[in-house]
């Protein structure tokens, strides 16, 4: 089985968000980049498939050279090979088209992406990719068991979960649950050394649609001061009379 894990290079979750160039661009100054958390759960699940079921695991991303440290980290965690499509990932549709090309050429059976990336929160790359290649698709996937031809997947739904039966070729939009938090791996020295020798192939993008364009960014208005209640009576009164929420 050939598995492709799609990785988005995103600001660390603790990052303060700022914009630059007249609020038209995200300000990367002083920002640490990491593997998108949702993708990291997927990558770890893929490592399990590699170790237990002999899968080959590649990772791919759309990005410029500055994303390579994140790809090296994925290799250090255990991916066999990395592919970087050399383009700025500005639009989800465009990114999905680029990855679809990689999937088609590489003959992958299973593609694991994240439910959403924590920067632009588009949540569309896995679904568009699946649809473009007519592969099966499970979103917000919290469990994935592959037993020969049969696949059992569980997806999170509002207020519960749904079990789905499906088959390869499959695309998954993953998140926590695919593996537990405690299963996530920190690259060790050996992994990091080995990652240096693994292939990180750069391919040029194909022509694609840019469906959306972020014209401008801004931040939420600063929050007013909190009102502290001295006791529960006062709190209930405030919530009823002032906030009108109970």
């Amino acid at each position: 089985m050939k598995v492709l894990v799609c990785i988005s290079n995103v600001p660390d979750t603790t990052s303060k968000i700022n914009f630059t160039d007249g609020d038209t661009k995200f300000d990367t100054n002083g920002v640490q980049f990491v593997i998108n958390p949702n993708d990291e759960f997927g990558l770890t699940r893929a490592m399990w498939l590699k170790e237990k079921q002999g899968a080959t695991v590649h990772v791919a991303t759309v990005g410029e050279a500055n994303v390579e440290p994140t790809m090296r980290k994925a290799l250090a965690i255990g991916a066999d090979e990395a592919i970087r499509i050399n383009a700025v990932p500005t639009d989800g549709f465009f990114v999905a088209q680029q990855l679809a090309e990689v999937v088609k050429k590489g003959g992958y059976d299973l593609v694991i992406g994240g439910r959403e990336s924590i920067d632009y929160n588009g949540g569309m790359v896995p679904g568009i990719l699946a649809s473009l290649l007519d592969m099966n698709f499970v979103n917000t996937c919290i469990k994935l068991e592959i037993d020969g031809e049969t696949i059992t997947a569980v997806r999170e739904i509002d207020g519960g979960k749904e079990t789905l039966s499906t088959s390869l070729p499959l695309v998954v939009g993953g998140q926590k649950g695919l593996v537990e938090e405690s299963d996530l791996r920190i690259p060790n020295m050996r992994g990091i050394m080995m990652a240096r020798k693994k292939a990180l192939n750069v391919v040029e993008p194909i022509e694609g649609i840019h469906a959306t364009d972020d014209k401008k960014f801004d931040k939420p208005a600063p929050k007013g001061d909190i009102k502290l209640a001295d006791n529960v009576d006062e709190l209930v009164t405030l919530l009823h009379n002032e906030a009108k929420v109970i």
Binding site: M124, F217, I226, L239
Partner: protein, 321 residues
Amino acid sequence: MSVIVYTESENGKFKKNAHEVASYATKVAQQMGTTATAVSINCSENETLGDYGISKVLNVQDDSLKPFNAKAFADVLASAISSENATVLIVSSSSDAKYMAPLLAAKLKAGYVPNVVTAPESTSPFQVKRTAFSNKGFAHTEITTEIKIIGVSNNAFGTIENKTDITVEDFSVDVDSNFKTKSTNIDKVVGKATIADADIVVSAGRGLKGPENWGMIEELADVLGAATACSKPVSDLGWRPHGEHVGQTGKPVASNLYIAIGISGAIQHLAGVSASKTKVVINNDPEAPFFKAADYGIVGDAFEVVPELIEKLKEFKAQNS
């Protein structure tokens, strides 16, 4: 040319977000000088959409479309869009909508923008405002394709009454019910508010010390008709199910009232819950960062404050009902 809205239902009844997306679609239709048409699948109360400005419903009744199937539902909507010559599709932010919309986007070569919080800022060019960076920012995004798909954030636009004459037309689509991805089981709490659509969410963190102390959290949620939620470490420790984990890497919360008990207010937690309209914090540490992000708060021990709050709310309810 019209605006199409997918109004979700469950067991024949509209979900709470259906009236919000209908109101949103009506607004977009007004901006574009056209009308709004709803697509409704296996619902038995279609006329109610006329209260929110919808003038036509394409009523799909088809047993092979039970339960939800992302690909089949996308096929139905694609067919409705083509038969109505629609250029704009409005969907909600439910887990089903977020599953289906990308499939439709690919099929229709449409730009899809989720997490939209206001009516379009302009319809020519077509520009919407959405959250980005997990609620730490907003993007003003232009959709440049001919067909546009907008995912409306929960509880951001609200419902707007607008009584309109409505016609309900039967609409059928040939569904190949031999689905390649099939639902085999749905495990869902019934009769309890969910984090996705609750008006009030009661959330607790590591300050509660252990799973055995969640009785009072559930009771408080019960009194308020609220959904229960928790911080990430609480679900990682197995004190509460993963489905309750809210925040940047968990579920987003956009309720009217969010009550955080024994939660410090880490940046990742706040990112996911900041879309809630009123935030209340109960924490015994006055320096907890949540006090900077909340609207109301009490500095105090949760084990004293929460039981008292439950009693007061019960009294309050008895007086006000």
